[in-house]
């Protein structure tokens, strides 16, 4: 069995680790395992290693079926070459490959930080709507129809307020 990294030497270090609930295996030769710090088990994460191997492979596989970004004509090969995407729409087009890449790169795959003010308004609106909806569901479950009617009116009021604010 050859080393997954240099693909030259015989693999003598065989690693298995659970990453995001999936079993990942990797086989390395002695020098590559040292270079990647595998001999120090506390500091080593297979995810980091797979970042260079698995992620690009996955990108490649999904890229073959997806072709080029319809917006900017960017292809999988371009990504491999530059490590950069072509335009904001590429993120939608290469979703699958990007997703696995992000998993290995970041703390999470969902943004939790700052958002432009326009989006923050939307978030407040969506959150408010969600909480009203769940209250309505509870009221209906309890057969408290008076409360439910109030909540229904409240929901339609919030909806119309929001559509007015976005038009203006």
């Amino acid at each position: 069995m050859l080393c997954d990294i240099c693909k030259e030497n015989e693999a003598t270090v065989h690693l298995t680790q659970m990453v995001e609930g999936k079993t990942k295996k990797i086989d390395l030769c002695e020098s590559c395992s040292k270079a990647k710090g595998v001999d120090d088990p506390t500091g080593f994460s297979l995810a980091d290693l797979l970042l260079g191997l698995g992620a690009s492979q996955e990108m490649e596989e999904s890229g073959n079926t997806m072709g080029k970004c319809p917006k900017c004509g960017f292809s999988q090969t371009d990504f491999k070459k530059t490590g950069r995407l072509g335009c904001p729409d590429c993120y939608d087009h290469f979703t699958e490959g990007v997703e696995s890449l992000l998993k290995s790169m970041h703390k999470g795959t969902r943004h939790v930080g700052k958002a432009p003010a326009v989006w923050q308004q939307t978030k407040v609106y969506v959150d408010r709507l969600h909480s009203l909806q769940s209250k309505l569901d509870k009221a209906v479950a309890k057969e408290d129809y008076e409360k439910a009617a109030q909540l229904r009116d409240e929901i339609s009021r919030v909806k119309s307020e929001y559509s007015e604010s976005t038009i203006s």
Binding site: R84, C87, P88, H106, R110, H111, A117
Partner: protein, 366 residues
Amino acid sequence: MNIQDILSKPEDASGREGPSNKIVLSSRVRLARNLATTPFPGRAKKSVRVETFKHIRDNVMGVDPMRDAFHTGMEDLSTLDKQLLVERHFISREHAAKTAGSGMALSGDETLCVMINEEDHLRMQALLPGLQVDKAWMAIDQFDTALESNLDYAFCKRRGYLTACPTNLGTGIRVSAMLHLPGLVLSEQINQIIQAVNKLGLAVRGLHGEGTEALGNIFQVSNQMTLGETESDIVERLNKVLLQIIDHEENARGKLLENKAKMVYNHIGRAYGILANSHSISSKETMNLLSLFRLGIDLSLFPCNKPALTEELFIITQPAHLQKTRAGKLSAEKRDILRANLLRSRLLKVDRPATPDMRKTEENDE
């Protein structure tokens, strides 16, 4: 245009002080932003880049702190000017290679700097002296908010701010601090520290960021992950780690003086000797020796001098700054001679390092 007339003088730039300045030279927060409907700069045609540059520049210049800002297209800067800006940490080395269709803007007080059409449409940074990552974040956050009302940012709820490289996705934030760590280097603990910091998901790099050497015992510590965590969490985490590194550096210095004072004084004395007496010196050697000189100042071996002096010497002995004093390109050999002349004359006014009372230390060393 002479870029040197626009930038602050090296003695003023090095005189800026901030908290924990002894160890933390500067703090920086940068944000990456892109426009929603334009390809990223690496993919956009030149005509599109030129157009985007103008559009972004006009909007940047309209925001309050930038009203008196200096701005320029990259094509209007000479190679030497660009290098000078790199040496001051206002633009990246990648950006220095750009021409028409890319540019920059720098606020009057030099705390805010925007690169337009680098890897992303917008790279904005707040740069403050000492340990002030939280303040730098507040400054750049405010600037970004002011800018977003007029620019249509590429943003999606799930992935946040979209960037050319997936490593910057989400918050697009890079929080970093420049640290001077001679104690950890001399006591050979630096690798341990780097490994520990890496394990926390933070990167340790050299003077000019990615892929650069740690010259002059200066290290840049920054976050790597930008998605799945809020900006303030990232800033706070880095701040905590920085405080710990400061602690370790102070301890290392204390221990060195306790156990290996001779070794430390020897290094500092020799550094002074070479800096004050050489007739040809490379910029690399200069940086490494200035680091020891600075350590000497920190340890009160040069009682009448302040760290700002080493910072100033650090700036003016770098290749572009040096060549600017002679208004033109010089060969490496000539630069080394010029650098040595400059250092000799500046160190004429600096007395030899004091020789501390060594009786106690000599006993320890034996």
